[in-house]
């Protein structure tokens, strides 16, 4: 048994807050790239949000995109270089608010790319505003009395939304709030990359993740929030696998 930092991750400290799930998801993606031997043929896209700086951590070609546009950028890269591996790494605001159109259409065209969607139910980088995936009753700086279903609508469920699209090959929702969840998440991410190698089409893994800083709780409480609240609102599991 060995457990070492993956080679596709640079040997540097991340800027993420203590207890933030991005570091875990970064590691899982990098491990999968290592295990499948893809580092030298991978082009990743960085979103706008906390993970915009992922190019500081991933040791592979990265293109930083405008907010919400990674699916469009990734579409073009993959179409121009079908022998390469292209992944998008997006947050909830990026994928489910400002970039909904790009997401749905890239998915519906069945673009042969891999999408990693980190859902932490809040806008982290801008300081804790409501995300499309913020839970009912969850307090944010723009829903100070809690998200109200009548005013802001219910949280947007990306896997359920995409499941109806014929172009989508694979959808799974996982979490990184317990070690067991992390191990499952890794398997899902690996499958999403393998699908691309097998030419199956659009694969997306939604990862429920922690944002202790903007939830204004301790890392342990953040883990509990994912386990108790988020998993209830966003049920884990495979939503599509063709």
């Amino acid at each position: 048994m060995q457990f070492k930092r993956p080679k596709t991750i640079k040997d540097t400290q991340t800027h993420y807050c203590p207890g933030c799930g991005h570091g875990i998801v970064h590691r899982l993606v990098a491990e999968v790239i290592d295990e499948l031997g893809l580092r030298e043929k991978t082009i990743g896209t960085a979103p706008v949000g906390c993970s915009v700086l992922l190019y500081n951590y991933f040791d592979c070609d990265i293109i930083e995109c405008a907010h919400g546009r990674p699916p469009a950028v990734a579409t073009a890269i993959k179409r121009c270089q079908p022998d390469k591996v292209v992944f998008t790494y997006q947050g909830d605001g990026d994928i489910a608010a400002i970039g909904t159109a790009e997401l749905i259409h890239a998915a519906n065209r069945g673009e042969n790319i891999t999408a990693i969607f980190v859902n932490n139910a809040i806008y982290g980088m801008t300081g804790g505003q409501m995300a499309p995936t913020t839970l009912i009753g969850q307090k944010t700086t723009t829903t100070q009395n809690g998200r109200d279903r009548k005013k802001q609508g219910p949280p947007l469920k990306v896997c359920e939304l995409l499941a109806s699209l014929e172009g989508v090959a694979y959808l799974q929702r996982v979490a990184v709030s317990t070690a067991k969840d992390v191990i499952i998440a890794k398997k899902a991410i690996k499958k999403a990359f393998q699908n691309q190698l097998d030419g199956k089409g659009y694969s997306l893994v939604e990862v429920l993740s922690m944002c202790p800083t903007d939830w204004k709780v301790t890392p342990k409480q953040a883990v509990d929030f994912v386990n108790n609240e988020m998993k209830a609102a966003f049920p884990l599991g495979v939503y599509k696998d063709v």
């Binding site: 048994m1 060995q2 457990f3 400290q13 807050c17 203590p18 570091g23 875990i24 317990t178």
Partner: protein, 92 residues
């Protein structure tokens, strides 16, 4: 013995490994690292089984492990775990 190494300088003190360790062998330091964080420490390196659950949950890739072994201390005999729970409540 599993060779577990926690990089104290990389640790941001989120404590997720503390609650994840099934044997309760991880606790937080009482001193700060250079970044001003309390960092995770292994209390019983001899008996670490190398299950790597701490590595799985660590958001900062601060824990590395080599080797794995069967536990020679039954879980129920380990009292350290409670101690860590108490320690955790201190942070909460």
């Amino acid at each position: 013995m599993a060779n577990i190494k926690i990089d104290a300088e990389r640790c941001k003190g989120c404590c997720l490994c503390v609650s994840e360790c099934p044997r309760g062998f991880i606790r937080m330091s009482e001193i700060f690292n250079k970044s001003g964080n309390l960092f995770a420490e292994v209390t019983d390196i001899e008996n670490c089984t190398g299950c790597a659950l701490c590595c799985q949950i660590c958001p900062d890739m601060a824990i590395e492990i080599e080797g794995k072994k069967k536990p020679n201390v039954p879980v129920k005999e380990i009292s350290q775990r409670r101690t860590n729970k108490e320690l955790m409540t201190k942070f909460e």
